[in-house]
């Protein structure tokens, strides 16, 4: 029996709480949330029991505690999340030649060509799930389909957990009855627009004619309508083919003490790396900075971001914060180094219409990148960067696998 439905989507719904549960089984059936501390802390994730009690991610922690007096609060444990995700990837790589790593307990595999070794893709996916449950204590939702978009809608349909194999050729029929909010790319704002237009199901979106689609959804209508019909050409993008880290370094001609000049140099560096990220359709999960002082002392700092980022508007404030952390000595600085890590394929699944400002920023960024690629990085510069001190040479660029 052969099938061209070989794409598997594995998703641990509520990854932070699932990892907490796997680590501490006594939490099973307990209402707990994962949240930071301090004033205005938000709930990052909720346990299944807490969800049944009406709590949701994004709530104010105090409000959640008021609603449920016995609520247990667990701190976010990014190291554990990273470890659990890496373990999941280790398991799936034994079976799948191509693995697209989306982070946070979220993987796409392509099992094409593995039938003789591991049996039909659906059976193999079941074995993978079994190993993840058995070895890691995580219970992922698993879907097998002909493409990523269909597989993702299936896992969303199955929430919070389950297994499904979508018969090849039935994608459109299967998607047609689903709530339009399950389609990747439909966020709150686009949903509002679709709702106003009377479009509630994926099938209704998929049946839009070209003119209607263009008028309602703008220039990117085609991708969305094709996705709604279960058609997608984007393959599983193997994450091992991408470099796990990008590095940028700037050695100053003379040691620098001026804060604004340092800041300008950091911005220039992060912009340079950011452009490379976007060109490769990557986004980062962590940015690190190392400062080399004139006395030979080195100080490093790193910050992890909540979701993968790739736009300058997000990268620059991060670099700014890192500079304050790493360059806190009253000693001149000889060089700056940035390290872009935890790189993931930018899923490009954001809501096409939400928020409008973010979409504008994305378009602006694309225009800036295009101009810089064509005329050189100096063709368009932020005013701040004009303060950057002269460097010994241009920015040193490296891809590392460390």
């Amino acid at each position: 029996m052969t099938s061209d439905a070989t794409v598997v989507h594995i998703n641990v719904i509520g990854f932070p709480s699932a990892v907490s549960l796997a680590k501490d089984p006594s939490l099973r059936d307990q209402a707990f949330v994962v949240a930071g501390t301090g004033r205005g802390a938000l709930v990052l994730d909720v346990s299944p029991r807490a969800r049944r009690e009406g709590l949701e991610p994004g709530m104010n922690l105090l409000a959640a505690q008021r609603r449920l007096k016995s609520l247990i609060v667990r701190p976010p444990e990014p190291l554990d999340y990273g470890k659990a995700h890496r373990e999941m990837e280790r398991i799936v790589r034994r079976y799948a030649p191509e693995v697209e790593n989306q982070g946070g307990g979220h993987l796409y595999l392509d099992l094409r060509g593995t039938g003789r070794l591991f049996g039909p893709p659906a059976d193999c996916a079941l074995r993978i799930r079994d190993e993840i449950v058995d070895q890691l204590g995580l219970d992922p939702t698993v879907a097998v389909a002909r493409n990523k978009v269909s597989a993702k809608v299936v896992t969303r349909t199955l929430r919070p957990t389950g297994f499904a194999f979508l018969q090849p050729g039935t994608e459109q029929e299967f998607l047609s009855g689903q709530d339009v909010r399950l389609l990747p790319g439909v966020g709150p704002a686009l949903f509002k627009l679709l709702y106003t237009a009377g479009i509630r199901s994926i099938g209704a979106l998929g049946s839009l004619e070209a003119e209607e689609g263009r008028a309602l959804l703008g220039p990117r209508w085609q991708n969305l309508v094709l996705a709604a019909r279960g058609i997608e050409a984007e393959p599983v993008y193997d994450s091992s083919l991408q470099s796990p880290a990008l590095e940028r370094r700037l050695d100053f001609e003379a040691d620098v003490a001026d804060w604004e000049a340092l800041r300008a140099a950091a911005i220039a560096l992060v912009e340079d790396g950011g452009m490379d990220l976007r060109r490769r359709r990557l986004a980062l999960g962590r940015l690190g900075m190392t400062v080399l002082y004139a006395d030979g002392f080195r100080r490093s700092a790193g910050l992890r971001v909540r979701g993968p980022i790739a736009l300058d508007q997000d990268l620059i404030p991060l670099a700014d914060r890192l500079l304050r952390l790493a360059a806190d000595r009253r000693v001149r600085i000889r060089s700056l180094e940035l390290r872009f890590t935890d790189l993931v394929r930018d899923p490009l699944e954001r809501d096409l219409f939400e928020p409008e400002l973010a979409l504008r920023q994305e378009r602006l960024q694309t225009a800036v990148d295009r101009t810089r690629r064509r005329f050189g990085p100096a063709a368009l510069r932020r005013a701040t960067e004009l303060l950057a001190p002269p460097a010994q040479s241009s920015v040193l660029r490296a891809d590392s696998h460390g």
């Binding site: 029996m1 099938s3 039909p120 059976d123 074995r127 499904a164 039935t170 709530d179």
Partner: protein, 265 residues
């Protein structure tokens, strides 16, 4: 984690061609059930699909067996040949017939298997809702052959009503429903139809279900059952690849494998 109780059996037992491969030579039809009970703890009755069962028939089956758990497939007047004017009478008749099974505590589940032509539209959704309410509080299972039904609204609807969505195994063919294991009640219900893609369309049911699962395929069923066992209270598993007793061969082997995994005692 508490584990579910698991029963494995076959869809139907009254196949004359099983005399030889399953039932000893010379076994009379009226003895099939008692011999079958020596093999499996549960059976899915499917004669009820072709003709409306009666309470007397089902009482007789209860008496002819000791502890066998019966699941029963709904009559085709409720799933395939629905008459808008008379279906409520047929539903009441079917409901009355189930009474002996329900009151004996040996009713596994009531299965409604809807054909491809049963589309996901407003009239049929209303029909399903009224039908299920008329059968409450019996343990109900639905199986759809049309993929449109396998959507998030249906899943939520089944969850709120405590109705089970049957998990299937089928050949890989266009127009067949997805294989989907999703918990919508405390009962999980699996039906393994075989993977004979060549004879699925345009042949009789004997050829359609002519298939013997391999060891590796059975292993994938163990994995499905294991995943469901942590989330359900009861799991009913039926093999429908009945041709030449292959369902029995596969069912017995699956039980062995489940025992090895300590999923059944």
């Amino acid at each position: 984690m508490s584990m579910a109780r698991i029963w494995v059996g076959t869809s139907g037992y009254g196949y004359h061609e099983w005399v030889g491969p399953v039932y000893p030579e010379g076994t009379e039809a009226e003895d099939y059930l008692s011999v079958y009970e020596g093999l499996f703890p549960t059976v899915e009755l499917n004669f009820s699909y072709y003709r409306m069962p009666t309470a007397d028939q089902l009482t007789h089956m209860l008496l002819a067996s000791q502890k066998l758990i019966f699941s029963i497939k709904a009559n085709d007047t409720l799933t395939h040949r629905i008459d808008p004017l008379s279906w409520k009478d047929r539903a009441a008749e079917f409901r009355r017939a189930l009474e002996p099974l329900a009151s004996s505590g040996r009713l596994g589940a009531v299965l409604f298997q809807f054909p491809f032509s049963f589309h996901y539209d407003i009239d049929r959704r209303r029909y399903l809702d009224v039908l299920c309410r008329s059968m409450a509080p019996l343990p109900l299972v639905v199986e759809f052959r049309n993929p449109q039904w396998y959507n998030n609204r249906l899943i939520e609807g089944l969850r709120s009503r405590g109705i089970t969505l049957a998990g299937l195994d089928l050949p890989i063919l266009k127009d067949l429903p997805p294989v989907m294991d999703v918990m919508t009640s405390s009962l999980a219900y699996l039906r393994f139809h075989g993977r004979n893609g060549e004879t699925w369309w345009g042949s009789d049911s004997a050829s359609r279900y002519d298939y013997l699962y391999s060891e590796i395929e059975l292993e994938s069923f163990v994995q499905r059952i294991r995943a469901l066992s942590g989330r359900s209270e009861r799991i009913l598993v039926y093999f429908n690849n009945h041709r030449r007793g292959q369902a029995v061969q596969n069912g017995l082997r699956l039980v062995e494998m489940l025992k090895n995994e300590e999923l059944v005692p």
